[in-house]
Subunit: 135 residues, 2 copies
């Protein structure tokens, strides 16, 4: 058996697990910072943890945001390349962004509590030959 291509080290970053619908607030934030089209958002999403290349998900999320009235879009003719659908935030979108932030702050604090509880515990009990739970 021969490995077809080396998929070695597919994620140098430890593959964060993002909150459930994190894409939505991220898009709202990016669009609040600056209106954009999908392909552009795909790039600007990277520093927010979306390293994986999944345009399909992005475009679906944008359409859903639009049917929910949180963003609105217009087609923009392009001389060099395909037309692009430009998105911008609605007032509803801004409001929901604000609510999302409130919610995500709570998430942030819970995560902080989890992490501090973990580090606190391992500080009390350094893993040098602990009572050795046998499996």
């Amino acid at each position: 058996m021969k490995e077809p291509e080396k998929p070695i080290a597919p994620d140098p970053t430890p593959a964060q697990v993002l909150p459930k619908n994190f894409l939505r607030p991220c898009l709202l934030l990016l669009l609040r910072e600056q209106p954009a089209h999908g392909y552009d958002l795909l790039e600007r999403l990277r520093p927010l943890g979306f390293n994986r290349d999944d345009p399909g998900r992005l475009y679906r999320a944008l359409r859903t945001l639009e049917t929910d009235g949180l963003v609105r879009s217009v087609w923009e003719k392009s001389t060099s390349g395909p037309d692009r659908r430009m998105y911008e935030l609605t007032r509803e979108g801004m409001e929901l962004l604000h609510e999302s932030v409130t919610s995500l702050k709570a998430t942030y604090e819970i995560l902080g509590m989890f992490l501090s509880r973990y580090t606190e515990f391992v500080a009390l009990r350094p893993p040098k030959k602990s009572p050795a739970p046998r499996d």
Copy 2:
């Protein structure tokens, strides 16, 4: 029609959206701190953001953890009340907890970035009669 009981103010906390499989690492952490049975874990989960009463989910998660070899359980006879299934962590479980923490740290940082980016932006652009996006 008469309200049977006041369900007023169902969530004083703004209903945080937790990361995808957050229950798993939480259970691993709690069991690392101290072995316990399901019903007990249900209580100890509350400060970690699981305010909603969903025993089914918990027990399912525990069974899954066990089939994955991350915890092990024994039945414990009880004189006062039903028997209880006591869970404790395996070595694999501890290792996976450690990995989960690494991953969740990344999540934590990303969330922090999102939140600081939001607050930074609203600081630059206080919402007093902004250019008024019309819907």
